[in-house]
């Protein structure tokens, strides 16, 4: 084996090692689509393409803090616990429904595939207290995410 061949072999092994190195935990951004119930009889069929009421943006940090931004059921921050792709999360924030804006909590359950690009399905229920009483929205949504 010539010296140049050795170097090529070493470089190849280093590259393969780098590709297989464990990846540090990263932030994931997920866009989900699906109809939400806003306290007015249940969800309506989503628009095609999905409109603002059908869309949710979720950011999951390396420390498993979850930031959910949606018109319904609201803007909610919590913590995710996961195993083998299945997860549960809970937290609090601004709950929004057809009745208005209130403060409250949420709980969610879902499934997310592994890898840089992720498929996600999520059911989220929220309950909030506003001046006119309890507001209780929910949403079943599917989407895709990317890990940075």
């Amino acid at each position: 084996m010539t010296p140049s061949t050795k170097w090529i072999l070493v470089a190849f092994l280093v590259c393969v090692s780098c590709l297989q190195a464990p990846k540090a935990a990263a932030t994931t951004v997920i866009a989900r689509f699906g109809p939400a119930a806003a306290g007015q009889g249940g969800p309506n069929v989503p628009d095609i393409p999905p409109g603002a009421t059908d869309t949710e943006l979720s950011i999951v940090t390396a420390s498993k803090t979850e930031i959910n931004i949606a018109l319904f059921p609201g803007i909610l921050i919590g913590r995710r616990f996961d195993k083998d792709g299945y997860y549960g999360s809970g937290g609090a924030g601004a709950v929004i429904s057809g009745e208005g804006l209130g403060l409250g909590g949420y709980a969610a359950i879902g499934y997310e595939t592994q890898g840089t690009w992720k498929f996600n399905v999520d059911f989220k229920q929220a309950i909030g207290l506003a001046g006119r009483g309890l507001m209780s929205g929910y949403a079943l949504r599917v989407g895709a995410g990317v890990e940075f």
């Binding site: 119930a37 306290g39 616990f81 195993k83 079943l140």
Partner: protein, 171 residues
């Protein structure tokens, strides 16, 4: 490694304990932010499996509505906190609307009465916040979600949301 152990610990099934029988009472919401009283019973197996029956209804004029939820669920310590657990499972809904006619005002129309059933999934959050001798007191927040006909392919669902408290005794 540490996080993997923590996650595995957080999601492990609850420690097995004696089976329990519970009486349940609370409110149910059917999609319109209005809460109606409901009552039921619950059986909790030591393995974390649980069965629940919840009934509610109302009478207004000649109309009598009765509904029942029958659910089978599995508990998981999903939130990394022993006081708070997640539950998920299968739920069955039966609804009955009866329109009766009285002798003074016979307004019953054929077809007004109806019965309907549906099957769906349930997800919720539960807490047992008081344990004394062989008795427990807890609360639950659950969503019983049902496919809404052909709209199911577009994720359109119907939901019965329950907010309940329960008092139980170990068997």
């Amino acid at each position: 490694m540490t996080s993997s152990v923590l996650v595995a610990t957080a999601i492990r099934p609850p420690v097995a304990r004696a089976a329990e029988f519970r009486l349940t009472g609370g409110a149910i919401e059917e999609g319109d932010d209005r809460y109606r009283p409901a009552a039921g019973i619950e059986f909790v197996a030591g393995s974390g499996l649980r069965g629940e029956i919840l009934v509610w209804g109302r009478n207004f004029g000649l109309v009598t509505e009765r509904s029942v939820l029958v659910a089978g669920m599995k508990s998981l310590d999903l939130f990394g906190n022993k006081a708070l657990s997640g539950v998920f499972g299968i739920t069955f809904l039966g609804e009955s609307t009866e329109v009766t006619a009285d002798s003074a005002n016979d307004v019953k129309v054929e077809g007004d009465s109806s019965q309907s059933t549906n099957i769906g999934g349930v997800f919720g959050v539960r807490s047992t916040f008081l344990e004394w001798k062989n008795m427990t007191v807890g609360a639950a927040w659950e969503s019983h979600v049902f496919p809404a006909g052909v709209g199911a392919v577009l994720l359109v669902t119907g939901r019965k949301q329950t907010l309940t408290v329960n008092a139980g005794v170990a068997l």
